[in-house]
């Protein structure tokens, strides 16, 4: 059953140095506020997993929280590079960054395997690709029925899954609509689940295209209005595309990034 906590308490209690943490959300519903709280609490040596690292992981990496990144596409969508990510990979600043690299389908299926309580699942992927050669989380098998080659991908079960959603009720049931990415899979695969929401309401009025994750599957719910900005929350606020376009200017240079971090995250 989910517990209602403030964000500081939730992150302090449920994210520990060295943990494997997945902050997911596919363009939509990216839990920026929770990421900033991790930075403020100076968590270290995290292994972080996300299909699209996006600005949130660029910030976590630049702030020195991350030891290892699991990802499948590391860019600023429609804009260009993630400079803190590249600086860590290419120059080891502020600390060396270990990469574990996937395709979208591959990382998705690692979550699916984790959510299914299986040690692995199978897919048609990585075959023939150089990705298959550098990936410790991939093995190749022959189908026991047809003999055709398939890839086995290892389950991913984060210590903590962190997600943002539109609403929760007092009992901790969480309601989501719009693009949901791997929301269900990260909830079911993670040992602990922290969900930040735009608002807590008395009754979750159901709406078209929504789904509800029962409180039973969630550890903590935090009301954090605006918690996904500059990504978006359908029917609450739009994606701040200008801010995404501005990010290179704030992050290309280490000092500029540190100044931004100091003022807008540490000082917040």
């Amino acid at each position: 059953m989910a517990e209602h906590l403030d964000l500081t308490t939730a992150i302090s209690r449920h994210v520990r140095d060295g943990d494997t943490v997945a902050l997911e959300g596919f363009t939509h519903l990216i839990p920026f506020a929770a990421g900033h709280e991790i930075i403020r609490q100076e968590k270290r040596n995290l292994t972080v997993s996300r299909m699209t690292p996006d600005l949130i992981y660029d910030q976590l990496i630049g702030a020195g929280c991350v030891r290892k990144l699991l990802f499948s596409w590391g860019g600023n969508p429609g804009v260009g590079s993630l400079y803190r990510f590249r600086d860590a990979v290419e120059n080891g600043w502020p600390t060396p960054l270990e990469l574990e690299e996937h395709s979208h389908a591959g990382l998705t299926n690692r979550y699916v395997a984790g959510a299914s309580g299986m040690p692995f699942t199978v897919m048609k992927g990585y075959l023939g690709s150089s990705l298959g050669e550098i990936a410790p989380h991939v093995r190749f098998l022959d189908c026991p029925f047809t003999g055709e080659p398939v890839a086995a991908v290892r389950a991913l079960n984060p210590d903590t899954g962190i997600l943002h959603a539109q609403r929760a009720d007092r009992a901790g049931n969480v309601q989501v609509w719009g693009i949901s990415g791997c929301f269900r899979e990260v909830v079911m695969a993670s040992r602990r689940v922290v969900v930040t929401v735009e608002e807590v309401v008395e009754v979750l009025e159901r709406r078209p295209g929504d789904f509800v994750i029962p409180s039973m599957a969630i550890t903590a719910v935090c009301e954090v209005t605006g918690g996904a900005w500059p990504s978006y929350v359908q029917d609450y606020y739009d994606r701040d595309n200008d801010w995404y376009r501005k990010w290179p200017a704030l992050s290309r240079d280490r000092d500029a990034f540190l100044a931004w971090l100091d003022e807008y995250v540490m000082g917040a």
């Binding site: 596919f26 363009t27 939509h28 299909m51 699209t52 990802f71 499948s72 596409w73 590391g74 860019g75 969508p77 429609g78 804009v79 590079s81 990510f85 590249r86 990979v89 290419e90 690299e101 996937h102 395709s103 979208h104 389908a105 591959g106 998705t108 299926n109 979550y111 699916v112 897919m123 048609k124 992927g125 990585y126 075959l127 023939g128 690709s129 150089s130 990705l131 550098i134 055709e148 080659p149 398939v150 719009g178 693009i179 949901s180 990415g181 791997c182 929301f183 269900r184 899979e185 295209g209 978006y232 359908q234 739009d238 994606r239 595309n241 995404y244």
Partner: protein, 254 residues
């Protein structure tokens, strides 16, 4: 009335020529950037029932403006359905329900293998770290066919990619069938200079058409391997004023 040939930018003819390959009623797996422009141009011109699938989950999206990101709200709001990412990749793409995928890359080689991961010989110490695979390897594997769309530069058209992010058509003619891939792979490569297609004999990419006014030698100069040229070599139809107007209108909305 004769159509006066209008002037166009290099990206514009690449986009227009690529969009002509899409037929009405097809299903199309759409990446962000030029592929999204291509697909929505086709949908706004000759293929109004083109079924667009974005990897974030929207099925049958009909955006009015071109999205900046793969998961923009308008994609979900205009879609016939929005599904989870595992459902997109496993039930729609991997299961073989998508007719055509559009891909781009930092490098392409003579067999259509694509690199979007690292530049340089050592993965662990790259010269340039690129964004990575995203949906590309499975789009390349499972769509019935793939169109590659990218600017033609000497840096990009290399004999052998530094890293095979997405498998193309070779080196061996049976590369794909041995791997059990369902789709035909990159059967069209559209650049700002012309069109390349795999040679039916050995799958080597061959220049089959140039855009109006493009010199064949220029294409060779921008390709690091000795380029095969089809004979006769086609010249693509110039963008019509309607096509250009539709494209510019689409871009002006964004």
């Amino acid at each position: 009335m004769a159509d006066r040939t209008p002037a166009w930018a290099a990206d514009e003819i690449m986009t227009v020529v690529a969009s002509r390959l899409l037929r009405d009623g097809m299903s199309c797996f759409v990446g962000i950037g030029i592929p999204s422009t291509v697909a929505n141009l086709a949908r706004n011109t000759h293929a109004p029932n083109l079924f667009l699938i974005y990897e974030a989950g929207p099925l049958g999206a009909k955006p009015y403006r071109l999205p900046l990101s793969i998961g923009d709200g308008e994609l979900a709001e205009t879609a016939d359905a929005v599904v989870s990412v595992p459902e997109v990749f496993n039930y729609w793409l991997q299961c073989g329900h998508i007719d055509v995928g559009y891909l781009s890359a930092a490098q392409i080689d003579r067999f259509g293998n694509l690199n979007t991961t690292v530049i340089g010989p050592d993965y662990h110490d790259p010269k340039v770290r690129l964004p990575g695979a995203g949906g590309a390897p499975e789009i390349a594997a499972h769509c019935h066919e793939v169109t590659v769309i990218m600017r033609h530069t000497r840096r990009a058209f290399v004999p052998r990619v530094d890293f095979v992010t997405s498998v193309g058509l070779g080196p061996a003619p049976d590369t794909r069938s041995r791997l059990g891939f369902r789709g035909a792979g990159p059967v069209n490569v559209i650049t700002d200079l012309g069109i390349l297609r795999p040679d039916p004999q050995d799958n080597e990419l061959t220049l089959v058409a140039v855009h109006p006014g493009v010199d064949t030698q220029d294409v060779q100069d921008k390709t690091q391997w000795p380029l095969r040229v089809a004979s006769p070599l086609d010249v693509t139809d110039a963008p019509t004023s309607e096509e250009l107007a539709a494209l510019r209108d689409l871009k002006s909305r964004t």
